[in-house]
């Protein structure tokens, strides 16, 4: 496997250009799918390679439970710098697992707590809570998707803007945007090089809901004004994975995007533009990452198989 086992750890860098360019040049829906898919594959490959390195590193530790043959020179030769890399991989993988687990647990806990908070209210799709603090959230709950909005938020908006707000939150729920947000959240924790993709998807998911809302209410300007008003009276979203109208991503950019021309829905960038090159660069990086990690996994499997006394 040689140096291939290290490639997936750094290949997320190939997705940086597209993470930067996608938000301006691709339709938000396309950008969200593309960046989330790329982030998920790169994160899985990177974690797999970390696990392979950890196996080699653990086998060298005295008193480890793995078969003795796994610390043979043939196995160690498979990994360049096996002394350092193997041992460094152990805490790295543990950190990845702990971090992802805590993010997933927190996501679940907040969703459950929010669901519990609304118990006892009529089971309508919109829960209006008497609270002067302005907020609005889409709470995904399987069959029971809900929009939570405070009276403070509704009071600040005109009736057209309220329709825009509800359309935005409904778009989050219908598009299951929380899944994209959770996926990039976990990916960014699996490999810190994927953090720019997390910020990009946090923004494009909001833009996606903005565009859907604009189509639903028939006016991009109304949505822009609703976002602007809500942002000016709101504080931030408490949680990145709960999609909120005004909080995520730089609000002025969203408003400016809505006041500009609508993005083209079905157009893939040509190879000869900056965003085209960036997209194909990320696709190539993702492919190489997948091939490298598959190659490393298969190679190590056969090496360990040969080294295991039967």
């Amino acid at each position: 496997m040689g140096v291939f086992v290290f490639l997936p750890l750094v290949l997320p860098l190939t997705a940086w250009p597209v993470a930067r360019l996608a938000e301006q040049h691709l339709h938000p829906r396309t950008a969200t799918w593309l960046l989330t898919g790329v982030a998920a594959v790169l994160a899985v490959c990177s974690t797999l390679c970390l696990a392979l390195l950890m196996v080699v590193g653990t086998a060298q530790l005295p008193g480890n439970p793995l078969p003795d043959g796994w610390s043979d020179p043939e196995v160690r030769e498979a990994v360049p710098y096996d002394e350092v890399a193997g041992k460094a991989a152990i805490p790295a993988l543990l950190a990845v697992i702990t971090s992802c687990w805590s993010a997933a647990w927190r996501h679940r806990r907040v969703r459950k707590a929010s669901g519990r908070a609304l118990r006892g209210l009529p089971t309508r799709s919109v829960a209006v809570l008497p609270d002067g603090m302005p907020y609005a959230y889409a709470l995904p709950g399987g069959r029971r998707d809900r929009i939570v909005v405070s009276t403070g938020m509704l009071a600040a908006l005109s009736s057209r803007e309220r329709r825009a707000l509800f359309a935005h939150e409904r778009a989050h729920l219908a598009g299951q945007h929380h899944r994209f947000l959770l996926a990039v959240q976990l990916a960014a924790r699996a490999n810190p090089f994927l953090r720019p993709l997390r910020s990009a998807v946090t923004y494009t998911a909001e833009r996606w809901a903005d565009e859907d809302a604009a189509r639903a209410v028939g006016s991009r300007r109304t949505v822009a004004v609703a976002i602007g008003r809500a942002a000016l009276i709101s504080r931030g979203s408490p949680l990145a994975t709960l999609a909120s109208l005004a909080a995520a991503g730089p609000v002025p950019r969203r408003v400016a995007a809505l006041l500009g021309p609508a993005p083209h829905a079905h157009r893939w960038p040509s190879l000869f533009t900056a965003v085209g090159l960036a997209t194909w660069g990320a696709a190539a990086g993702t492919t190489v990452s997948a091939l490298s990690s598959a190659n490393s996994a298969v190679t190590l499997f056969f090496i360990l198989h040969a080294a295991t006394p039967l």
């Binding site: 908070a117 209210l121 408490p238």
Partner: protein, 133 residues
């Protein structure tokens, strides 16, 4: 959370408490005036123990959802908030708990920096008005 009364942080138990709070509040909402815990116990049904009703009422009082006054040797209870008010209170707790703990929040709260705010006001001022209703 008073762990002694709920018997630990068992989630199913906690969920039951949330539902009971809503039931007790809606019973109080139907009451003709200030009523005793015994009246509440009779009207929520489901064979809930008197001590449980008292626990729920005390907790609701701590949340500012109900008020009590001493009449003779017992308390009489009246609702202050309705179920939506209680839900708002619980939701706020979820939001506040998250904003305290998460560093990720700081970036969200500052999302609208003074410069952003200025920019946003300019953008909104430029946006052409089209028939408000």
């Amino acid at each position: 959370m008073d762990v002694q009364n709920t018997g630990g942080a068992d989630p199913s138990r906690r969920r039951a408490q949330g539902e009971l709070e809503a039931q007790v509040l809606s019973a109080l909402g139907r009451a003709p005036g200030p009523v005793t815990a015994g009246w509440v116990q009779e009207h929520i049904g489901g064979g809930i123990a008197y001590t449980t009703v008292m626990t729920i009422l005390t907790r609701l009082q701590a949340k500012g959802a109900v008020a009590r006054e001493r009449v003779g040797r017992s308390f009489q209870w009246t609702p202050v908030a309705d179920e939506a008010g209680l839900a708002a209170w619980r939701m706020r707790r979820v939001l506040d708990a998250e904003s305290d703990r998460q560093a990720v929040l700081a970036s969200f709260v500052t999302t609208l920096s003074p410069r952003d705010e200025q920019l946003l006001r300019e953008l909104l001022a430029q946006a052409p008005e089209d028939g408000e209703d």
